[in-house]
């Protein structure tokens, strides 16, 4: 579904969704959201861990 090519003749960028900038923006935002989510999850984990030793 995501292939950006139908033939290998005269191909340049051939990765999934290379011809769909909107999808690429969404994926980039998704990747950024994962980084933000990771930090938030670590903060929560730390807060919970520190709470136990109070």
């Amino acid at each position: 579904m995501g292939s950006s090519i139908t033939t290998w003749e005269n191909v340049s960028a051939y990765f999934t969704f290379a011809d769909n900038p909107f999808a690429l923006v969404l994926f980039a935002l998704g990747a950024a959201a994962i980084l933000v989510g990771l930090i938030i999850s670590i903060i929560r984990h730390e807060n919970a861990a520190f709470e136990k030793i109070k």
Binding site: A13, A31, I39, I53
Partner: protein, 455 residues
């Protein structure tokens, strides 16, 4: 006669050979940087061993997990915005057009026609990860993993590469206005990361028990041998790092510096090894301490890296020895002022990186750049050093101050007492109680114990 080659058939054969040659040349370029990147990962294996060894056993895994996660967050951060920053900001803070480097560009992925972007991005991403590891060691045993990751994303994905766009880009303003020369990234990677670390340490504070009534105390690492092996692994990784600092050109040009001037790997080989040896000797003379002696190898390489293509090897050796000796004085200076840099990162990377830039001005001033650009000069290098120091320190101090104000910079005191592994990591480094040299190390001299060298 009918089988004799015609002019047209000879030309066609020649064109075919030329196409084969060009494809193989492009593949060679890819192969070279692929292996440089792979070898650079050894830097991170080394930092991992080095930081875990330098920690007390109660914090060994926390130091390790922090380092592993740093690489994991810097790589996507560098994909999402780091590569664009490098391409967009050579003129300062105002971006130029660099849409091809945005993460949603068709250039930022597998492309049959582009055999350069991915491999250069990868090498730069690993340079960025190195900056994160430089910060990581200094802050062990008291920083929160979450705040460390915020800091490291900012350092490895934004700060150093902005400095890289200014001083390590063919159109960077430090080069075009001042003839700045920083071939092996002494400034853009090491000085920036080192002074960013200093800014963080000022807000983070010392490990509990490091200073009593202002007098620095010995905090023993749990495995000095692990730190020494880690440092040697970092040295190995530096050959990938420095290989990534040379430009493998197509066509007739051959090797060049990132500034477009001619050089070759032979030049790098002479001065990398002579610097390595000199740094070890300098730090050994100044301390007799095993940790600092091995760290001296890093000091030596970084001290000559900025002018790696220009120095006579004997001069590189002398520069490295002298920098090693002076760097120890700088480390003592920091410790006397209450800075607890657990692995000497500010000294090894920050101080040495700046010294390396200035020494290029002292010893290689007058060396021409390519046509139309100013020659290397003492003033230009001094300005570059000041920019790199500030570029690291100001963001590091500012962001860590914000995190401190938000009360998420440092672990609670009780956690520091118990150990971060026990509280947060939920795993034990030595579950069967066989902590390496546990009893012996508690009474021995230790890394970063500068006071011991004053005897």
């Amino acid at each position: 006669m009918e089988n004799s080659p015609t002019l047209e058939s000879l030309q066609a054969a020649l064109d075919a050979q030329q196409a084969v040659f060009e494809m193989h040349q492009a593949m060679n370029i890819e192969v070279f940087y692929w292996w440089c990147t792979a070898i650079m990962l050894m830097i991170h294996a080394g930092f991992l061993a080095y930081e875990m060894g330098a920690s007390r056993s109660k914090n060994a895994l926390a130091a390790g997990i922090k380092n592993i996660l740093a690489i994991a967050v810097i790589i996507p951060a560098f994909y999402l915005f780091g590569w664009w920053i490098y391409n967009a900001f050579p003129n300062g803070f105002v971006p130029i057009e660099a849409a091809a480097a945005l993460p949603w560009s068709a250039s930022m992925g597998p492309d049959v026609q582009d055999m350069g972007t991915g491999i250069f991005w990868a090498a730069f991403a690993l340079f960025g990860a190195t900056t994160g590891s430089i910060l990581s060691g200094a802050v062990i045993e008291r920083i929160r993993v979450s705040s460390f990751l915020i800091l490291t994303i900012f350092l490895g994905g934004v700060v150093w590469i902005m400095a890289g766009a200014w001083g390590w880009h063919p159109d960077g303003w430090l080069l075009t206005k001042f003839g700045y020369h920083d071939l092996g990234a002494s400034g853009v990677v090491h000085a920036v990361a080192g002074f960013f670390t200093l800014g963080v340490l000022m807000n983070l504070g010392a490990r509990k028990g490091k200073f009593i009534n202002g007098v620095p105390q010995i905090i023993s690492p749990h495995s000095l041998p692990m730190t020494l092996i880690g440092l040697m692994m970092i040295i190995f990784g530096f050959f990938g790092f420095l290989g990534g600092c040379i430009i493998f050109n197509g066509g007739e040009t051959g090797w060049s510096t990132i500034y477009g001037t001619p050089t070759n790997l032979s030049a790098f080989a002479f001065n990398t090894l002579m610097g390595f040896a000199g740094g070890i000797i300098g730090c050994y003379i100044a301390t007799r301490d095993p940790f600092w002696t091995m760290s001296g190898g890093l000091v030596g390489i970084i001290s000559v890296a900025a002018g790696l293509d220009l120095y006579s090897p004997s001069l590189a050796f002398i520069i490295a020895v002298c920098t090693g000796i002076v760097a120890i004085q700088f480390a003592k200076f920091l410790e006397k002022r209450g800075i607890d840099d657990a692995v000497g990162a500010v000294t090894v990377h920050g101080f040495t990186g700046l010294a390396a830039l200035v020494m290029v001005g002292v010893f290689a001033g007058g060396t021409p750049n390519i046509e139309g650009l100013p020659a290397i000069s003492f003033t230009g290098q001094l300005i570059g050093a000041a920019v790199m120091g500030l570029m690291g320190f100001v963001p590091g101090y500012g962001l860590s101050l914000l995190l401190k104000k938000a009360n998420i910079l440092r672990v609670p005191e009780a956690c520091e007492d118990i150990g971060i592994d026990e509280v947060e990591i939920l795993a034990k480094p030595y579950p069967e109680g066989s902590v390496p040299a546990m009893t012996a190390m508690t009474t021995s001299e230790v890394p970063n114990k500068l006071a011991s060298s004053e005897a």
